[in-house]
Subunit: 106 residues, 2 copies
Amino acid sequence: MVKLLALYRKPPDPKTFEEYYFKQHKPLAEKIPYLKAYKLYRVIGTPKGSTTDFYFLAELEFENREVMLKALRSPESLTAAKDVPQFARDIVSIFFVEETETPVSA
Amino acid sequence: MVKLLALYRKPPDPKTFEEYYFKQHKPLAEKIPYLKAYKLYRVIGTPKGSTTDFYFLAELEFENREVMLKALRSPESLTAAKDVPQFARDIVSIFFVEETETPVSA
């Protein structure tokens, strides 16, 4: 199982960010083909003593790498990607993760 | 649903990091009570043109905030937390996320 993670640092105006995300961006992201799951999370805290500037996380789950890359080449994905700088320029890190149960050297 | 996320940036020696993680740290983290799911992910790439220094992600899922905070006060959790600086000092960000389906202003 693989996921695209979009990890957002704290926006200048969280309320405006969230309104844009849910009303404008989410409907675009939901149209991406082969999407197995699409979940949104708000950062609610940290363990005692640590700090974070992370604010929001989007998880887009796909069956495997090949399907994800195919999905990301779709017109729907390109439309969603083009929308990101409208509300999250400079505050988002986007990366792919793959579930693993063994160390890389195994 | 809530999760504790431990997001690791690239370690100086990824192979040593992963060997420690899977052999030493994972058995400690697995003992944390009330753990609903514990999943590990390796960062496998980014969209074209972007960069990331993230390397590895651990997700510890709990039923809700109250259960998570109770779990994190347990002796097993304290033991696991004390182990983190042994292999990931300065490269880990730990934070809590909660799933949301509506903007914060709703």
